[in-house]
């Protein structure tokens, strides 16, 4: 759920003789908290769409809540639920969700150097290593702000995402058929919104186009859920072609 972070005004010039540091620091802190709250709130609320989608896919309330509490990475959750709703085997659905989750390892790699968390906090912080916390933290100028941004985004998102999952699932029954409300479009729209900022280079666009073609072409012939995994082949394929072509 990466999204563009608000562009922050350039910091006021550093005073040449720094005063006891408190006013400047608290102003910078407030800016970080504002960014973090904005991202956390916007994305946290889309947990509502997840709750409704999970209910529409036939998942029970404990199942939907367990996913948001324990998996806590939106794309994997939507992928799992979408694959199950499409009649995919649970093992295939889980495989697709896991593949999507792998990118969080790379966020973690970049964050570990930036945040330098003490060992005992690491297992706790790991649960919050996702698109949004990485985006907010990596956008900060120093470690103090990065830690603050990570913590505030993590808390806000975790609380809201779980609360809205619960409310979305509970509200789904009152809504009736989610398709009549267009809520079946929420899942793919989330994927598209996550995908858009990743499409910067020609290679990335080629992978996206090839992946859609592979997925739609294999959809009629492969069991549900498998076409997504087959489309994953687009990444190594394009990488192979660009390397052979001297692309890098």
């Amino acid at each position: 759920m990466t999204q563009d972070l608000p562009v922050r005004n350039p910091d006021p010039p550093e005073p040449t003789v720094p005063p006891p540091d408190a006013p400047h620091r608290s102003r910078a802190d407030r800016a970080v908290v504002r960014d973090a709250l904005g991202v956390g709130t916007a994305v946290g609320l889309s947990g509502f769409a997840f709750g409704v989608t999970a209910a529409g896919a036939g998942l029970s309330l404990p199942m939907a809540c367990a996913l948001s509490l324990l998996v806590f990475t939106g794309a994997s959750q939507f992928a799992l639920v979408g694959a199950l709703a499409g009649g995919g085997a649970p093992a295939t659905a889980a495989a697709g969700a896991l593949f999507l989750g792998v990118r969080n390892a790379f966020y973690g790699l970049r964050l570990s150097g930036l945040l330098r968390l003490p060992g005992r906090l690491r297992p706790l912080a790991a649960h919050w290593v996702i698109d949004e916390t990485a985006a907010v933290s990596l956008a900060q100028p120093d470690r103090r702000s990065a830690r603050l941004g990570f913590a505030v985004t993590g808390v806000t998102l975790y609380l809201l995402w779980n609360l809205t999952t619960l409310l979305g699932h509970l509200g789904a029954a009152a809504l009736g058929d989610p398709a009549a409300w267009g809520l079946d479009a929420a899942g793919p729209a989330v994927f598209l919104a996550l995908l858009a900022p990743m499409l910067r280079t020609a290679g990335e666009r080629a992978v996206a186009v090839l992946a859609v073609a592979l997925a739609l072409a294999t959809h009629p012939v492969l069991p549900a859920g498998v076409p997504v995994l087959a489309a994953g082949l687009a990444a190594p394929l394009v990488l192979c072609v660009t390397r052979r072509g001297g692309g890098r």
Partner: protein, 103 residues
């Protein structure tokens, strides 16, 4: 594998890859090829998921219906740099509208 098993496996696996990233010494996974592949894999999966959940019908069929209009609206919102919630909202509202009009 039951649905609960799928949830347990997904939860455990997703947590472990997060923890792995935070715990592995920097440099271990920093090989350029691995990083390129790691950056491109989510692109492929997200694109495939978007395509399938927009055009995928029941039992392996492909369908062009109200969802396509909704996703078009979402794409437009993204081009206009709309916030995340507005993008999702546009897709939902336009899909519901197109369906109400008999699309």
């Amino acid at each position: 594998m039951s649905v609960w098993w799928a949830i347990a496996v997904t939860a455990a696996g997703c947590y472990l890859v997060k923890l792995l990233g935070l715990s592995v010494p920097a440099g271990a996974l920093e090989r350029p090829l691995v990083r390129r592949l790691a950056a491109l894999l989510p692109v492929a999966l997200l694109a495939a998921l978007t395509g399938l959940q927009t055009f995928g019908g029941q039992a392996g069929a492909l369908a062009l219906d109200a969802r396509a209009a909704g996703l078009g609206a979402a794409a437009l919102a993204l081009l206009l740099r709309a916030p995340f919630l507005v993008v999702i909202g546009a897709a939902v509202v336009v899909t519901a509208g197109a369906r109400a009009l008999g699309g």
